[in-house]
Amino acid sequence: MNKRTSLVAVPLAAALALGATGCSGGNAAGGEGRGANPALLNHAAVVGGAPKRGGTLTVLSNQDFTHLDPARNWVMNDMDFGTRLLYRTLVTYQAAPGAKGGKLVPDLATDLGTSSNGAKTWTFHLKKGVRYEDGTPVTAQDIKYNVERSFSPDLPGGSDYAARYLADADGYKGPAEGKHLDSVRAPDDHTLVFELRRPFAEFPNATVMPTFAPVPEKRDTGPRYDNRPFSSGPYEVKSYERAKRLVLVRNPYWDPKTDVVRKAYPDRLVVTIGLKPNQIDDRMIADQGADSSAVPWYALRPESAAKVLSNAEARRRLLAESMNCTDMVQMDTGRAPFDNVKVRQAVQYALDKDAILTASGGPAFNDLSTAYMPAALFGGRQPDTLRIPATGDPAEARRLLKEAGEPDGFATEITVSSGDKGRAEAIQESLAKAGIKVTINTVDPSAFYATIGDTKNRTDLVYTGWCPDYASGSTFLPFVFDGRYIKEKGNTGNHSLFRDEPTMRRMDEIAAMTDARRADEAWQRLDGEILKQAPAVPVLVRRWPLVLGGNIAGAYGHTSYGGQLDYASVGLKDPSKSQS
């Protein structure tokens, strides 16, 4: 999914960010040749020991949720919050730190689904005894209904896995006027059958998405459901003032016996929205009074990194798991000079990734990237197939430019989100060493994706990224390099406009594989093949640093939620210290 764009002061709520499983970015924890990373004291570990039941967990946030309606929720942090607290899905991720967090476990379903018809039909059986906040039972029809409503143009923003994989879904626009999808069947209250348009061995991974949470038809309030989702999870919404405050209280009908994942330690969760990011950082570092029972919603700003890394006490309360999203410089392969592979390779060699890493807050909170897919999709470590020095190789870049018929270099432009200006300047400086003069075009995050998605009028280069939805190459490479997804306006993902027939054929072949291990290996090989054609240059993988309050327990950055705190397990050491 699109990497979150960020603003120096207020990161953009509307920008999307999804992560995947895994434990580090480009390099193993700590980075190669950099010594131990001081930010990784709690890497893959639980902070604060076992929580006690009760109290109020406060969440300090600079931004509102993008969507809490499960049909529309497709931002990593929001999915974590929604599916761990408010609604349950067919399948979810295990509540555990480190690589274990990538493991799928049944949630509403009794197992991870049964496939038939060559992985084109998937059947799930629901647990009995799961109830909504009003005590009514969760039924298979409710999940079918939410899958259907995710197609509605009135409810945009959600994941498109249902649209992408369900049979006969083309042109379907939701359950308005009583129209239903025949490819989702609920023969009884506890059975769901999905008919897919093609074999899809990873379908259980897709059912982790909030699209596969239940919404009872009689409770559906359309676009307003976003502000008051009906709970099937351990908490229900007590009040929600958009961009101000969200208060969750216990759902009395949630039964822990039906739920192996959620611990629901706090009695209440209060999300205070609209605070300044620097103030959140300061408050979390200071850890005073009620703030010791608080957690930050958004990552520590790079500007605050030094304050934390130089403070041993604060470092003990720091989580910094990988976001598993790759930042890339993407080149427009559809027009000169970047339609020439030699020119693109010259950019690959010219880029000083180390300088960009420094501009991003340094190696403590970022890892260099040597492949497109993050480490999680390579079993924990990215390969370095090109072996280009991290500081770049301007001489080799100049040689390649000469071969490409551009001995004197050329002038080009790059578009970046305003939060990435420092990174753009590092790119500009390093490409200049090879004779490529780059002009930086900075765009407000609100207009960034619309600007780079206008394929006719955009600049040659863009700096953006991609995050897989789960630990599979199928949620990364096709989104970023399949030419069939290119749109003239509103283009997303494939910003290199890469349209290579053999690559697309290979993607279809891998997608049809029913052996997940074989498919994984094939995606990894394909990553290297595309890298040789250089439609984009992978630069870095960011971490998600969070400084927690001193009274927080059971906390870890969940690898499947981009390093965000796992809200299924977090609680308080001493509930009496929290605000009532």
Partner: protein, 328 residues
């Protein structure tokens, strides 16, 4: 007077329509696409078109503008199919970012902005007027110079600088205050005031300085008027002369200034609210600018314009009450 009021009201409506039209047109030259932003990361062309149609973005610009304008007075029905939304009078559109009617969003935040504006206004009026009057009554003395140098200094400090200094000095270093966390007046008046004290100070310092200078010159001018000499000659006490005769006539320019300032602030003090993390209209506006939430940007712009022009009108009508010469 009635005709004058009606004429002014027509002018107010004209200004608001012009503001709405200009703001509306600005969105058409910007590259942002609300439908694409709402659609998410992997949006097919067909789905994008359906969302655009649902939002009414496929209509010609004049039609969209007319729907918006007429909706303010008659309400509107938004959306399609089973999810039609009724946006009642006064409908300022619907925020797809917040899944809420813009009017409801604004009304939800108005108490915060009003608390900030009114509290700061009380402070700056008290500080500014007393400093200005004191300086005027002691014209060309050390007191006058000290007060005016202080006022020039305070007026030179941008509100973001003052705010950041207050946050740094009183919250971060001295730890005398917690970071502001807005509490509604009805919940706890004492906490409401204590959480707003620093934002009030940040705003009031700037405005008080301007009001001190303005009220000083107004008072000096008023004190030199012949009717003041008459009042003193009649043997009226100094307090009566200064307050009833001097201050009242010197108030006219202050009133104009106050109407504009308060009107502007009621629609949100963007910088102060953002810096202190107060969930008012200013902060909503800042967030809407960051996320490209056009209906909210339009709604806040209109509300701000409405407050300013209505405050202007109210001030003009109040002139007659404050200064009897206007009625002549």
């Amino acid at each position: 007077m009635i005709l004058y009021t009606l004429r002014r009201l027509a002018g107010v409506i004209g200004v608001l329509i012009a503001v709405a039209a200009v703001t509306f047109l600005i969105f058409y030259v910007l590259p942002s696409d609300p439908a694409a932003a709402a659609c998410g990361k992997s949006c097919s062309a067909a789905r994008l078109a359906a969302i655009r149609a649902h939002m009414g973005l496929d209509e010609p610009v004049w039609r969209q503008f007319w729907d918006f304008l007429s909706g303010i007075f008659t309400g509107r029905t938004l959306g399609s199919g089973q999810y039609t939304l009724r946006c009642d009078f006064p409908c300022l559109g619907y925020s797809y970012e917040n899944s809420e009617a813009v009017w409801d969003l604004l009304m939800n935040r108005l108490p915060v902005s009003a608390s900030l504006a009114l509290g700061a206004a009380v402070l700056w009026l008290a500080l500014g007027l007393s400093a200005g009057v004191a300086a005027a009554l002691r014209k060309n003395t050390l007191t006058d110079r000290v007060l005016m140098v202080g006022a020039v200094g305070a007026a030179s400090l941008p509100v973001y600088f003052t705010s950041m200094m207050l946050i740094y000095g009183l919250i971060r270093v001295a730890g005398l205050f917690p970071y502001p966390n807005y509490v509604p007046f009805g919940d706890d008046p004492a906490r409401w005031a204590s959480n707003l004290l620093l934002p009030w100070l940040a705003l009031a310092l700037l405005y008080a300085a301007m009001y001190a200078r303005q009220s000083r010159s107004s008072m000096i001018e008023a004190m030199a008027e012949p009717y003041m000499r008459t009042a003193r000659a009649k043997g009226l006490p100094r307090r009566t002369v200064v307050i009833k005769h001097g201050l009242r006539s010197g108030m006219t320019p202050i009133l104009t200034l106050f109407g504009m300032d308060l009107g502007g602030l009621l629609a949100g003090a963007v910088i102060t609210e953002s810096l202190f993390g107060l969930p008012g209209i200013g902060q909503l506006f800042y967030g809407a600018l960051s996320s490209g939430d056009q209906p909210v940007i339009l709604g806040v712009t209109l509300l701000a314009a409405a407050f300013i022009v209505v405050a202007n009108l109210a001030v003009d009508l109040l002139y007659a009450v404050v200064d009897p010469r206007v009625r002549l």
